[in-house]
């Protein structure tokens, strides 16, 4: 009796596994279609979207070669700008917001309280509210190049980062820093050699959140940067459509494939951290 019930339970679980496996295949399907269509001649992408690129449909690497200079802008350049902007922004945000968060958590002043309140407040502001004035301010202050736009990202992204860091710093016992002070550490040394190493798990979470945000962001760079000169990957892909009436779908898919490969590789290598980091960002507020 007992054995029979157990096997029924097992059978139920296997059915669920099978159902999920089918959903999984459906889930991967869109990405698979990108791969398939990036090797297909443009004329067949629209008519035979779901067919394998065999025979006369097969385009070889033509789409990738064409895609490199497609849209009157070298794709490599936009990859480069995306990498520079993302890494610099993440670095600036991690370094400066963690320092500010430690200060806010440890020093009891009205200014700190106001600043912290403003940070929390800024998390619920939609970008549309400030997009016009922010782009004009950035223009005026000459922050409209890939080398300076990280400062804008630091400003608009500070809220969430400070909120997460303050939450973590408050859970660190004060005694550790007091011991450091007794041993003769000044605030600077206390922060960099005592506090900073302890912040590592939150650093990873915040870092991943900011990297995903900046890498995929379209609206802020398109408003701030001069897009004739500087394009990030999302801008490049959006302007493939904008520059022509009809789009070369084969080449577009080739570029999309090239732009999601690094993301998927990054995801598969540090999956655990990414899921943890993204989930931590959800519990804000």
């Amino acid at each position: 009796m007992n054995k029979k019930r157990l096997s029924a339970e097992q059978r139920r679980k296997n059915t669920l596994s099978a159902i999920l496996a089918v959903i999984c295949v459906i889930y991967v399907f869109p990405v698979l279609m990108v791969v398939v269509n990036s090797f297909k001649l443009n004329t067949f992408v629209k008519t035979d979207t779901f067919a394998l690129p065999t025979g006369e449909m097969y385009a070889g690497l033509d789409n990738f070669i064409k895609g490199m200079t497609f849209g009157n802008y070298p794709f490599v350049k936009s990859v480069l700008y995306s990498v520079v902007i993302t890494l610099m922004s993440a670095f600036l945000i991690l370094l400066f917001t963690s320092m500010a968060a430690w200060y806010i958590a440890r020093v009891n002043s009205l200014f700190c309280k106001v600043l912290y309140f403003l940070c929390v407040f800024s998390m619920v502001i939609p970008f549309q509210m400030v997009m016009y004035t922010l782009s004009k301010t950035a223009d005026k202050l000459k922050l409209n190049t890939p080398w300076t736009i990280p400062i804008v990202y630091l400003g608009f992204g500070a809220g969430l980062a400070i909120f997460m860091f303050v939450g973590f710093v408050k859970s660190i016992p004060l005694e550790i820093e007091e011991a450091a002070a007794i041993d003769g550490c000044g605030p600077l040394r206390t922060y960099f050699s005592v506090v900073l190493p302890m912040l590592k798990p939150t650093m990873i979470s915040v870092g991943i959140l900011e990297i995903m945000w900046v890498w995929n962001d379209y609206l802020l760079p398109v408003l701030v940067l001069d897009i004739n000169e500087y394009r990030t990957i999302p801008i490049h892909i959006q302007y493939l459509k904008g520059s022509y009436g009809t789009v070369d779908l084969g080449a577009t898919m080739a570029l999309i494939l090239l732009s999601i490969i690094p993301v998927i590789v990054f995801y598969l290598t540090c999956q655990k951290h990414i899921i943890k980091g993204v989930a931590a960002g959800a519990v804000k507020g």
């Binding site: 679980k13 600043l115 600077l188």
Partner: protein
């Protein structure tokens, strides 16, 4: 002993304060450039008529009145609200079911979790183009396209958002489900509760905090949606009204504001900024409602 400790940490505080320009300076400067100043200026400009920031003229609440009279704005509002609520229900039901199955210790649950979460990392613009290719591939058999009918645009965007967000909400639900005390489930089983009874009377009440988070998250995500909307349909199909204005039938609020900023009318920048302020009040209101709701819950517990 105790007093000594307090005075000690006070002296640390005093030493730390001397370094405040270094610790706070960069963030405060960038925060003012990237948030505080644009925010204040944005509120001021919503009360002005302007083409350039330098020639803004105060006109009171005129922009707000014009924004509410703008048929494309009210259309975008109702369209967005309908979209946000529909996607909220579908995404959360699907995510909860998947999370519930995945926590039943079935085979391959790690692989499933990895796959379901993956679309989250792909940016909105790229997602839009991937799906517009797929939808057009299907619809071309009936020689139509996603840009032809606003119903296709609506449900297309819902499918896209489900694909992107179910995995994300699933992660939050899994965390919630794993926190349901095992003894409670055991007790329900011993008392002879059926699987459904256990689900609705034990499991769901215990994951209410996760449900609250996910509901508010998908609601605000739906309202703030921009990239996917722009890349998938960009508001098409358009309807030209008798009075000459255009309604972009699948245009959501954020895109409507963006398009108004790019408008050519002499007052359109001011109206766009007024719309942005209304949009901000709407979204911030949801955030505050969530905060109040969760605070309230915490007090009760």
């Amino acid at each position: 002993m105790k007093t000594k400790k307090i005075s000690n940490s006070n002296s640390i505080q005093r030493a730390t304060r001397m370094w405040s320009p270094l610790f706070l300076g960069p963030v405060v400067a960038a925060f003012c450039i990237g948030f505080v100043w644009p925010f204040i200026q944005g509120i001021w400009l919503s009360l002005c008529r302007f083409k350039l920031v330098s020639d803004a003229k105060f006109i009171g609440f005129d922009n707000y009145i014009k924004a509410f009279q703008d048929a494309s704005f009210t259309h975008a509002f109702w369209y967005t609200a309908l979209f946000a609520v529909t996607s909220l229900v579908i995404i959360n039901v699907l995510a909860f079911i998947v999370a519930y199955i995945l926590t039943q210790s079935i085979r391959g649950s790690n692989l499933f979790r990895t796959v379901f979460f993956m679309p989250n990392l792909i940016g909105g613009i790229v997602l839009g183009y991937i799906w517009s290719m797929i939808f057009d591939g299907i619809l071309s058999r009936w020689s139509t396209s996603i840009l032809m009918d606003s119903k296709f645009g609506f449900w297309g965007l819902i499918i896209l958002m489900c694909w992107q967000q179910v995995g994300y909400m699933m992660i939050i639900y899994i965390a919630g489900l794993q926190n349901v005390p095992g003894e409670m489930l055991e007790a329900a089983r011993i008392d002879g509760a059926t699987r459904m009874e256990t689900l609705f009377k034990v499991t769901i009440p215990n994951v209410m905090p996760s449900i609250t988070i996910c509901v508010f998250l998908s609601l605000t995500n739906g309202f703030k949606l921009f990239d996917q909307n722009l890349a998938l349909t960009a508001g098409q199909p358009f309807i030209i009204q008798p009075d000459g204005t255009t309604i972009r039938t699948t245009e959501m609020l954020a895109l409507n504001i963006f398009n108004t900023f790019n408008g050519t009318g002499s007052a359109s920048q001011g109206i766009a900024q007024a719309k942005a302020v209304i949009f901000f009040i709407l979204v911030a209101g949801m955030g505050l409602a969530q905060l109040a709701y969760t605070r309230n819950k915490e007090v009760q517990q």
